[in-house]
């Protein structure tokens, strides 16, 4: 039997380290699934109940492991169903491969109205990824696959798309390539002069501040060392959490970071857009910025940095440490200021956000340090962005700027599938939970243990809050009638529990972590105090 394009795709996935295919089959991809059949032990299909979950599971798996992950869907509605997951993967910097079917090649663009035909699928795929191409036959299959995996392994991690028309899968490949393993394309080496300038600026700083984003996830050790040598506090917002463990006195949340931003003199931005800080907290001429990112487009996105370095942090950070040599400064005033700001804000959270903190502390107390916490847009989630004590990278998963309601359960499922050795807990509101909780069926079918905590207030609580507070008490379309989540979970053959107090939540979590199984814990809640004063905090610099 001759090798087909479908065989090449299977081969490329396996040779590039993909072990699971999150998927939902359908007629355009039948030939591909048949090729997969013979390799299903090494490239396991996990079929889901809605294509959004194929996307979110791949995303959760990619975030939890740091390695590329793949999903496969039919064209048209199947693909469109996965687009919110792709947009989220793009926002948080996750290497996710979207393998998307397409109508037969000769029919593309003809407007015949074939099953699952949409006018320009490839354009949409390109709009949501860093790179997307179509395999148009045996001639370009190997190259498209190599380029796709090259992009997944290189540069800024972001989703990549491949589209394969139904008529192409079975096309025979005349000379099958030995290997389709793609190597990473190295990022440009940092200019030594820039590194010297950066080191000089940082060494001379009185109040240096380090800002880390998702791009810094895998560089915690070097950053911790840098922070220690410089006595520079490190602020993470969402995707940078855990880069420097939160129990380190130099690791601070965003509200504390903002206090420090007020008087910082040099900022070292690592793997972050630095947009939230510059647009919300403000900038002025006294703030000198060193910005290092693998994506040149981020350097000077808002204002031009004094030193902008396009480089892989894996190369730039050791270079910077070398350039700093044995420079080490205590900066006791700055350290003191950091500690005082931390204490002041901790006090203020405790006074104003006690209910949310109570739930977070209960979860933290039960979830081991390497356990994964999946955040969502819910009252407790907003507070977690700054008050969650995250001590390891890739254990706090966030939607980043995309703010995708409903990602949580399915993303947690992907994380749990990819890292079965650690407990995974997702939190969502009753609004967000229903977007993907149907995947309880997937959890049960594929025996994926995870714990979903659902804070049920029978409302799109956050929307309702704004309607009441900002729109003269005119709530509309924000009250909900939610299912009984305990019975819902049980109807899937999953474990359902209810916790009314943080202590009860601890007890439920203890059980679900000790005896892993798909679990939903419903937590009935009322109104929470507003966390927004600690998130939308306003300018501290510049007019």
């Amino acid at each position: 039997m001759s090798t087909t394009v479908a065989d090449l795709v299977v081969q490329a996935l396996r040779q590039n380290g993909i072990e699971t295919l999150y998927c939902l089959p359908g007629v355009q991809n039948d030939d591909f699934f048949d090729a997969l059949y013979d390799h299903r032990d090494s490239l396991r299909p996990v079929q889901v109940r809605h294509e959004q979950a194929a996307g979110y599971m791949a995303l959760g798996a990619a975030l939890a492991t740091g390695r590329p992950q793949a999903f496969c869907v039919v064209p048209g509605p199947g693909f469109l169903n996965a687009t919110a997951a792709l947009a989220t993967a793009y926002a948080v910097g996750a290497p996710v491969l979207a393998l998307v079917g397409e109508i037969p090649l000769p029919a593309i663009g003809k407007g015949l109205g074939l099953l699952h035909e949409i006018p320009d699928q490839l354009a949409i795929l390109r709009g949501l990824t860093k790179q997307a191409e179509r395999i148009s036959g045996p001639g370009d299959a190997a190259d498209v696959l190599r380029r796709a995996f090259g992009a997944l392994h290189s540069g800024r991690p972001r989703p990549v798309g491949i589209e394969v028309p139904a008529s192409v899968w079975k096309a025979p490949v005349a000379e099958p390539p030995e290997s389709l393993a793609a190597a990473a394309i190295p990022a440009p080496a940092p200019d030594p002069a820039d590194i010297e300038r950066a080191a000089g600026l940082l060494a001379a700083a009185e109040r240096p501040l380090i800002v880390v984003g998702g791009g810094a996830r895998d560089h915690g050790a070097a950053i911790t060392q840098l922070a220690r040598q410089l006595t520079a506090p490190v602020v993470a917002f969402r995707n940078g959490q855990g880069v420097v463990p939160r129990d380190d006195p130099l690791s601070v949340g965003a509200p504390v970071g903002r206090e420090l931003w007020r008087t910082a003199d040099v900022v070292l931005a690592l793997g972050t857009r630095l947009a939230m800080q510059q647009t919300q907290w403000g900038t002025d001429d006294d703030l000198r910025i060193v910005h290092i990112d693998i994506d040149a487009a981020e350097l000077g996105r808002v204002t031009a940095p004094e030193v902008g370095i396009e480089a892989d942090l894996a190369v730039a950070l050791p270079a910077l440490l070398t350039a700093l040599g044995d420079h080490a400064r205590d900066r006791p005033d700055w350290a003191g200021e950091t500690a005082r700001a931390e204490a002041r804000l901790a006090q203020s959270y405790a006074e104003r956000l006690a209910p949310q903190l109570g739930w977070l502390e209960a979860i933290r107390a039960e979830l081991p340090a390497d356990g994964i916490f999946v955040d969502e847009l819910t009252q407790v989630g907003y507070v977690s962005r700054f008050a969650w004590s995250c001590t390891r990278p890739r254990t706090y998963l966030s939607t980043g700027y995309q703010g995708t309601l409903g990602w949580g359960f399915a993303t947690a499922l992907g994380a749990a599938h990819a890292r079965p050795e650690v407990p995974v807990v997702s939190i969502s509101g009753d609004g967000g939970a229903l977007y993907t909780i149907t995947e309880l069926a997937t959890a049960v079918r594929h025996s994926i243990a995870l714990t979903a905590i659902v804070f049920t207030d029978n409302a799109f609580g956050n929307v309702r809050r704004f309607q009441i507070e900002n729109y003269a008490n005119r709530p509309i379309a924000s009250d909900l009638t939610s299912p009984d989540f305990v019975r819902l979970a049980e109807s899937f053959g999953a474990r359902g529990m209810r916790a009314k107090t943080p202590d009860e939540l601890r007890a439920c979590l203890r059980e679900s972590i000790r005896d892993p199984a798909p679990t939903v814990i419903e937590v009935p809640v009322g109104d929470f105090p507003s966390p927004w004063d600690f998130i939308l905090m306003g300018k501290v610099r510049g007019a």
Binding site: P25, D30, Q47, A166, S491
Partner: protein, 553 residues
């Protein structure tokens, strides 16, 4: 369309108020949606109009858009949904694509990031690289208002676009700062849809002549026939021509009429016909699967000049609406003295034979009969893609136009339940059922909560075979039974629906189904019926299409 409040003097209002006002001016009475911060000003404007505009909020944006679609399907009026930008919009695009494939007027309203930040890549909440470009990959009309004053004219244009020619969805977006900004706004009166072109008299005459001369004429109709049912009946009865209704046209002739054909006997009639009048259908499936290219004289009526040549050109093409084109043909035939011819015998036989074959296919026939008896004649059926509906779309007798619905050529799983909810909102006087597979139903299952919250009495019927059965069958028949990624582990659907707070029952036989459905419908409450099913007879063998050609299913 009524214009209740159009005035000529500009009034100061916010962008959100301008949008809400324009909706009212175009006769909109319901908006499906999910709020969020970018739309706060819009929803606040909805609040002000709450006595005239009902907001039905849902549990996933796909649900809102599918409900808008079902609303349009059941009523012919514009289905409107409002969703936040970025993931909210993306979550709705499957329904937009589905609505486009079924030629429906659906208006999506969405937000943006703040106008002054668009295109900067700061990573603002819900930011996409190019949101409009994404929407334009799905439909033609996607526009952004850049100022409150632009809103009325832009939305009037959207409504005109949606209702002109082949009906289509449109998506309008506006940044949150502009939705909140106040400015003088001049309301705009609705624009009439572009009228259907008048076909050339000589062409009509030639078409009538060919039809009159035909010995075995056939009429093929698709979704474009909706609202032109009387016209097609008139022409069909003059010619004695069977009317072969695509699933999107089911009910345009009541199945009790001897000329009413589904595509199954239609295929046999096609094999024997000499002349075919093809109206308001893409004709793709028939042309690609039924053959006889060049053997049948073809006359085509389609409102869309792009569509009418696909997949191949007819002998005579009339670019106009079904109503205008059939009206002109009817007049020409009357003039030529063509009057009440009887159906040609081969067609009549084919119909009877097919009905007999279909009647033997158990348990499908029993279940279909039970459904038909329990549901009033004017009840609405929303048929998801499942083994049962592949049968029912051909075999269930329909009595009224606009009573049997499908998700267009997208065949989108999960469309049926939320679409049925939207239909019930549009037509509270009708009984409404959604027919789904266990696979398809789970795509949109969260809207059970919407049904309960807004008390929308629709009965979901779930045919549970613990599999993506359609795909599994193809794997069995065409891939030697190498089953992969098709088996499912389902919830106990009855227990699940009860967890949502609705009535739910299991029905294991056609008799039980009939009784249970009748009782659920009498209740007039949201409800669910689960029917466990096993292997079903292969209906595709009758549809006679290569199952996995990838071209059509």
């Amino acid at each position: 369309m009524t214009s209740t409040s159009t005035t000529t003097t500009p009034q100061t209002m916010t962008g959100g108020q301008a949008v809400a006002r324009a909706l009212l001016d175009h006769g909109v009475d319901t908006v499906f949606g999910i709020p969020g911060i970018q739309l706060d000003n819009l929803f606040d404007a909805f609040y002000e109009l709450r006595n005239n505009l009902r907001v039905v909020h849902t549990r996933h944006e796909q649900g809102a858009a599918f409900m808008a679609m079902g609303y349009a399907q059941a009523s012919g009026r514009t289905g409107v949904f409002a969703v936040v930008p970025g993931p909210g919009l993306l979550n709705s695009l499957t329904a937009v694509a589905t609505g486009a494939s079924a030629n429906l007027p659906m208006l999506g309203i969405t937000g943006q990031i703040p106008s002054y930040q668009i295109g900067q890549g700061y990573g603002i909440a819900h930011e996409l690289k190019d949101q409009l470009a994404v929407t334009r990959g799905v439909i033609d009309w996607a526009e952004r208002a850049e100022h409150p004053a632009q809103v009325p004219a832009l939305l009037a244009d959207a409504f005109q676009h949606m209702h002109s020619g082949r009906k289509q969805p449109a998506v309008f977006e506006m940044a949150p700062d502009l939705l909140g900004q106040s400015a003088p706004v001049q309301p705009a009166a609705p624009l009439a849809p572009h009228p259907a072109p008048v076909p050339e008299a000589a062409l009509v005459a030639r078409a009538a002549e060919r039809l009159a001369a035909a010995k075995r004429p056939l009429i093929l109709v698709g979704g474009g026939i909706v609202d032109a049912e009387a016209a097609v009946l008139a022409v069909a009865e003059r010619l004695g021509a069977p009317v072969v209704m695509s699933p999107n046209a089911r009910g345009s002739l009541p199945d009790s009429h001897p000329l009413a054909f589904t595509m199954m006997p239609g295929q046999d009639a096609w094999a024997a016909c000499d002349t075919a009048l093809i109206v308001g259908t893409r004709f793709t499936n028939q042309a690609l699967a039924w053959g006889r290219e060049g053997e049948v004289e073809t006359i085509r009526i389609d409102i869309d000049p792009m569509q009418i040549t696909k997949p191949r050109r007819a002998d005579i093409s009339l670019v106009t609406s079904a109503e205008v084109g059939l009206g002109a043909l009817d007049a020409a035939l009357a003039e030529a003295g063509v009057e009440a011819r009887g159906i040609w015998p081969e067609a009549e036989t084919a119909r009877a034979e097919m009905q007999a074959k279909l009647a033997e296919m158990e348990p499908l026939a029993g279940l279909t009969g039970a459904l038909r008896r329990a549901l009033p004649a004017d009840g609405l059926v929303f048929a998801d893609v499942t083994r049962f509906t592949v049968y029912a779309r051909f075999a269930m007798a329909m009595h009224e136009p606009r009573s049997f619905f499908m998700p267009g050529f997208q065949a989108t799983l999960g469309w049926s339940y939320p679409a049925a909810l939207g239909a019930k909102v549009a037509r509270p006087d009708r009984k409404v059922v959604a027919l789904c597979g266990d696979g398809g139903f789970m795509f949109t299952v969260q809207e059970l909560a919407t049904a309960v919250h807004h008390d929308i009495p629709v009965t979901a019927v779930v045919f549970n075979n613990q599999a993506y059965g359609n795909v599994k069958t193809i794997q069995r028949n065409s891939y030697g039974g190498r089953h992969i990624a098709v088996d499912l582990t389902n919830p106990d659907f009855v227990a699940m629906a009860r967890a949502y707070g609705m009535r739910a029952d299991l029905a294991e036989t056609p008799e039980a189904f009939e009784e249970t459905l009748a009782s659920h419908l009498a209740d007039e409450k949201p409800s669910l019926i689960e029917i466990p099913v096993g292997e079903m007879p292969n209906v595709w063998s009758l549809v006679r299409r290569p199952p996995s050609a990838g071209v059509s299913r």
